[in-house]
Symmetry: D2
Subunit: 261 residues, 4 copies
C-alpha cells in the first residue's frame, strides 16, 4: 500500500474546506481545533482520518484548484475537463496551446495525451511563463510539455501536424490562419473567450478556415451533502468563459468531390 513520504503533496479536508499541502517533516498544519504535525503522517497510508481531518492523495483537479500559483485567472477544471475531451485528446496526440497562462489547462492536456503525446505551449509574458513553468515542474507535468516564452510562432513548430489546438488569448483573431496551417485536416480547435464581444468578433474570422462551429458555456451547480436537507449551494460560479469549438476545413476543396446535386 502506497504510504505518505517526505515531500509528497496531500489534500487535507477539514469541515467544508480543502487544503493542498506539502509534507515536510519539520512543519505542521494548524487549524481551529488542533495541529497536525506532518512527521506523524510519514509512513501512513492516504485516506486516513486524523481527528476532524481527512488526508487524501490530491487529484489533478485539486492540484489545479488548491495547489498552483497563478498570475492570471486560472481556467476552471469544469472547463478544461470538457475542452480536453472535446478536442479528442487521448494517448499519443499532439496539441498546440497558447497562451499557457498559469499552466492549469496544460496539466489537464498533458494528463490526457500521456507519455507518447506532446503539448506545445506558448506564453509571451515572461512573468506568467515562469510561474507556469514552476507549476508544471512542481507537479510533474514536464515530460510531455514543450514550453515557449513568446507569442505563438509557427516557425517553432513548423514540422509538426497538430491533432488539436487550444487558444486562450485576449485577441485570437490574427492567429486563425496560422493555426489552421499547423493543424491536421478536420482537427478540432478550441477557444476560451470571457466576453460575448470576443465570440462575435471571432465568428467573423473563422470562415473559411474552420467549420462545424459550436459555442457553449459549462455551468456547475453544487449541492449540500445533507441527506435530510438536500438543496443546491446558496451561491454558484456565474460565468467563467464562453467556449468555442470548430474543426479545420480544407480550403479550395469544394470542387474536389463530384456526385452531389
Amino acid at each position: 500500500m502506497e504510504t505518505i513520504k517526505e515531500g509528497d503533496y496531500i489534500l487535507i479536508r477539514f469541515k467544508d474546506k480543502r487544503y493542498l499541502k506539502r509534507v515536510e517533516s519539520d512543519k505542521n498544519f494548524s487549524y481551529k481545533g488542533g495541529v497536525l504535525y506532518y512527521k506523524d503522517l510519514i509512513g501512513k497510508p492516504f485516506g486516513i482520518t486524523v481527528g476532524e481531518l481527512q488526508i487524501f492523495k490530491p487529484t489533478l483537479e485539486e492540484i489545479i484548484l488548491y495547489g498552483i500559483k497563478r498570475e492570471t485567472q486560472i481556467i476552471y477544471p469544469k472547463d478544461t475537463f470538457y475542452i480536453a475531451k472535446k478536442l479528442d485528446l487521448s494517448e499519443g496526440k499532439k496539441l498546440l496551446e497558447f497562451g499557457t497562462g498559469s499552466g492549469a489547462a496544460t496539466m489537464v492536456f498533458s494528463s490526457c495525451v500521456g507519455s507518447t503525446g506532446k503539448v506545445y505551449t506558448f506564453e509571451r509574458e515572461e512573468r506568467i511563463f515562469k510561474t507556469a513553468k514552476r507549476n508544471l515542474e512542481r507537479f510533474g507535468f514536464t515530460h510531455n510539455v514543450v514550453m515557449f516564452n513568446k507569442p505563438f510562432d509557427p516557425k517553432e513548430v513548423k514540422d509538426i501536424q497538430f491533432d488539436a489546438a487550444f487558444i486562450d488569448v485576449r485577441e485570437p483573431y490574427p492567429y486563425v490562419e496560422a493555426v489552421h496551417k499547423v493543424l491536421k485536416p478536420s482537427a478540432p480547435v478550441g477557444f476560451l473567450l470571457p466576453t460575448a464581444n470576443q465570440v462575435e468578433e471571432l465568428l467573423r474570422h473563422l470562415r473559411p478556415y474552420f467549420g462545424d462551429i459550436e459555442i457553449l458555456e459549462i455551468l456547475t451547480r453544487y449541492y449540500k451533502a445533507n441527506p435530510d436537507r438536500f438543496r443546491p449551494e446558496d451561491t454558484m460560479v456565474g460565468h467563467t468563459a464562453y467556449l468555442l469549438f470548430a474543426k479545420k476545413l480544407l480550403l479550395d476543396t469544394t470542387e474536389a468531390v463530384n456526385g452531389e446535386k
Copy 2:
C-alpha cells in the same frame, strides 16, 4: 495526409445537423438538396467541403452522440468528460465501472486510461450488455476494456486494487462496502444519480466508507453561432443526472496518528 477509406466512419455536417455514417462504396447519403456517393469520398482527405456538406473525422463525442446504439439513456459527454477527469483517470489507471449501459461512458474512460490502463465493466442485463459490446467493438474500444455480463461481482476482480470506480445503477446502496474494498486508499468514486431521492439515500450509506463528498450537476448552455445575433439556443437540456463524488477512507484509522488536539 490521412485519407478516407472504405469502412471509415465520417461525420457529415449539413446545415445545423450532424450525421455519423460508415463509408461503404456502394451506398450514399441522401439529403435535401442532393446525394453524396460515398465512393467519391474514398481517397479524399477529411475536412473537405462537398457542396453544402462538410466531411469530418468523428471525435469520440460524436461517436457517442450520433454513432452508438442504445438500449438505455446514454450518459452525456458533458457528464462523462467531467467524471473521467474528476476520477483522475489518466494513462495506466485501472477503473471499475458498473453498470456498463450503452458503453458510452466506458469509451470515454477507455480513451483516458490508454493502452497501459484497464476498464473493468459489469452489466447484468444481457440485452444491454450485448449492445454495449457491439458498440465498443465497432468503434475500437475493446483493447483495454474487460466486460462482464453480471451484476458487480467482487470475486471477478479480487486481485485488483482499483484507482477509481464509477457506479451508474438504480440502487447503488448495497454496493458501497464492496466497492470500498476493491479500491486503493484515497481512491475517488463517482456515482450518477438521476433523482434527488437517490442522492439523499446514497448519502445515508456512504459513511464511514467514503469522505470528501461532492455533489454537482453539469449544465451546458449552447449559443447560436451568429456574430450579428449572438444569443443562447432557445431550448437546453434541463437535467441529466446528479453526480456524486467521494474518496475512500481507511476504516479504523482515526487513532492511527497522534499529535492533534
Copy 3:
C-alpha cells in the same frame, strides 16, 4: 360559490397537458379516453374533477400561455411577471409600452396598474396590432389600456408623465431620448432584447439619459412532481431574452447640489 357559465373560459388539465377552452354548450372537448360535453359543466363550480380531467378557472398566466393568439413570439410570464414589478407597477400607475406584440405583456401590466392606472401601448404592424386588440378584448383587458396602431409617437401622449416604460422593439436605440422625455424623473424603464448585440448597442445609447443600469436573464427550471423520483424536467427553455432596466436621470443636474467632495 361561483359556477361555470356559457362563454366562460376554463383550464382543463389532462395528465401533463393543459388546455384553455371556451364553454359553448353545443361543443365538447375530446381527449384520449373520453369526451367532455361543455353543457355538463354549466352550473358546476370550478375546481371539479371529471374522470381524468381537472377543470379550473384560468389564471392570467394560463390565458397568456394557452389562450392568446400570437403573430410574434410572446413574452413569457416568467419575464413579464418580473418586468411588471421591477418597473414598480401598482395601482394607479401609468405605463408606456411599445411594441404591443401579442398583448401578453400588456395584459400583465394592465392587471398590475388596476382600474385607476393606465397602459398606453404602440404597435406599428397592423396585423400584429389587430391580433393584440382581439386578445385584449377577448380576455377583458381593455378598460385601462389605450392602443395605438403606429410606432411610438410622443405627440399622442404629450400631456402624460409616465411612471414607467417598457420597450420591446428590434431597434430601440433611436427612441431613448423620446422615452426619457415622457417619463417622470427617476422613473424606471425596461427593455427586452433577444440578442447580446442589441444589449451592447443599447448600452452605448443610454447615457446620459438613464442610470442605475441592470441587465439580467430570468431562467425557470421546472421539476417533475413525483415524490419518489424528484428531479428537474429533462428539457428547459434555454433563452427568451435579456432584460435591461434603468432609471431616468435628470440632465444638467450634476451641479445642482452642493456639499459633495
Copy 4:
C-alpha cells in the same frame, strides 16, 4: 415635479453599490470621495446626479433588498414577483399568507391587491412578527394588510373565502387541509420550500386537496453593463428555494359530471 422631502427614502447609487437611506436634514451620507448632506437634497427632484452619486426614488424591489430589517432569510424579489402573479394577485383579491417572515413577500402581495384587496398574514414568532410589523409600517404597507402574531388559525379568518394562499413555513404539511378549506374553489396556492426533501414530503400531502401541481426554481443571471466586454457576472445566487404551486380541487366531485368515457 415631485421633490425630495424630509423623511423621504432615497436610493443612492454609488459605483456598483446601492444604498437605501432616509433623508434627515441633520444627517449625511459619507462615501469614498466625499460627503452628501441630506439637507442639500430637500426640494430637489429625484433622478439627480450629485458628483459620483445618483439619487433615485426607491422602487419596491429596492425597499426589500436594501431597506427592510430581517430576522430571517428574506424571500428574494425574483421569487415574490413571480409568486404574486402566479397566484393571480390583482386589484381586490384576498390573500392568505403564513408565515410573515420579514414581511418582504407581504409588501409585494400588498402592492398587487391594491386598496380594495387584502392580505391576511400569520407569524407565530413574536420577534419576527414585530420586525415585520415595523417594516410594513415604515414603508406604508399596512392599509391592506391584517397581521396575526400566531400560527395560522382558521378561526381568525373563518368568514373569508380566499382568492389565493402563500405558505412559507418549515413544515407546511399539517396545514394542507385547513388551507384547502378557506380557499375558493380552483384558487391557487403557492409554497416556498428551500430543500428537496420538503418538496417530496409536501407532494405526499397535497392529494386529494390540490391538483395542477407545478414545481420550479427561478434563477436570475446578471450581466456586467459594459458594451465592449459584455458577459455574465462572475458569481450568481445558486439557490433560494423551490416554488410549488397547485390549485384547490373540490372533493367528492368526481362523479358530479356525466358525459365522459
